[in-house]
């Protein structure tokens, strides 16, 4: 989880992700950021998240992102 928050903070250094449970609704993450985030997650965790999984609900907060990462780490 810490690693995911670290990656997020590099995308938007000025943003406090710990204060939100819904990054998209709160405007902390948008579609441009998600594209960058997916590339960074792929590289950091040695996974390849399929394009069909790049949907808003998978990037709602650190927990849902961690679940997505774990799904493909264990695949």
């Amino acid at each position: 989880m810490d690693q995911i928050l670290d990656i997020l903070s590099k995308i938007r250094p000025e943003t406090d992700y710990s204060a939100s449970t819904d990054y998209l609704a709160d405007g902390l993450l948008d579609s441009f950021d998600i594209v960058t985030l997916v590339s960074d997650l792929d590289a950091a965790f040695g996974i390849s998240i399929p394009g069909t999984e790049i949907t808003p609900e998978r990037f709602r907060n650190a927990e849902s992102i961690a679940a997505l990462v774990n799904q493909y780490r264990n695949a």
């Binding site: 819904d22 998209l24 609704a25 709160d26 405007g27 579609s31 441009f32 998600i34 594209v35 960058t36 590339s39 960074d40 792929d42 590289a43 040695g46 390849s48 998240i49 399929p50 394009g51 069909t52 790049i54």
Partner: protein
């Protein structure tokens, strides 16, 4: 080289294949799936994919590439009977990418800035907002097309516009039953994308529309949003700044290439 007409699913598969093989931060301007698009024209290699989506009288190009050289090769090879528009969104200008666009015949035509507002002003109007009706979809579409730039302003399709109207996301002013001004916006979670503002009616109606927008947002509990503005339009930037909007550092550059 002629691009192939393919469904979105085939492009998605190609992008996934590149991402699975090359785990690098990709160059891309494709931020949302084009699942509803038809007749997408694709050219691909092992390290890049370029595809075109036809709009009114031009095609918009999207790409996903591991490096600039791979992208440039496909752009050089991509033949089209329509003018091509390509762009990219980033915080800083990527000079290598820009050079690749220029070297393959593209000319920079516009530069937009994103502005955000995290505390909408208290609305200064007691007037009830008026919304466009579904029956007015074609009138609104005609006003948007005659006022805004199809290349840079990403005009909605008729179906998308109808959906916005159904969701009460198009505010209007009317004179003698005809729409003379409007604000179109898109609610995204707890923030809003302020898309289009136009006024062909009485002087001052533009301000009334803006106040109607803020009232509408207050009624929906929305206090923050973003918009895109042409960096060359100094007056628009000043007006938005005066209303609390600030550039957040994100840019959108547009390049155009004439038909072969």
């Amino acid at each position: 080289m002629s691009p192939q007409i393919v469904p979105w699913s085939q492009i998605q598969t190609q992008i996934d294949r590149i991402r699975a093989t090359h785990r690098v931060r990709a160059l891309t301007n494709c931020f949302t799936p084009l699942t509803d698009a038809t007749d997408l024209a694709m050219l691909a290699s092992d390290t890049a994919v370029v595809f075109a989506c036809a709009e009114t009288d031009f095609s918009r190009l999207y790409y996903h590439a591991t490096d600039v050289a791979s992208l440039a090769q496909l752009l050089a090879d991509f033949k089209s009977t329509l003018p091509l528009v390509i762009g990219y969104v980033d915080k800083a200008k990527n000079e290598t990418l820009c050079a690749a666009f220029r070297d393959t015949g593209f000319v920079e035509t516009a530069h937009y800035l994103r502005m955000t507002n995290s505390a909408f002003p208290v609305p200064d109007t007691a007037e009830q907002p008026e919304f466009a009706t579904v029956d007015e979809t074609d009138d609104v579409m005609a006003l948007l097309r005659s006022t805004f730039n199809a290349v840079t302003d990403h005009l909605p399709s008729r179906e998308r516009l109808r959906s916005l109207i159904e969701q009460q996301q198009v505010l209007v002013r009317r004179e003698a039953g005809q729409i003379t001004g409007l604000v179109a916006f898109q609610v995204l979670g707890r923030q809003v994308n302020f898309n289009y503002l136009l006024n062909r009616g009485r002087r001052g109606d533009g301000s009334v529309l803006k106040q109607s927008f803020f009232r509408c947002m207050a009624e929906r509990g929305l206090t923050s949003g973003f918009l895109w503005v042409d960096s060359a339009n100094e007056r628009a930037r000043q007006i938005y700044s005066a209303n609390g909007w600030k550039a957040d550092g994100l840019n959108d550059w547009f390049y155009t290439r004439q038909a072969a």
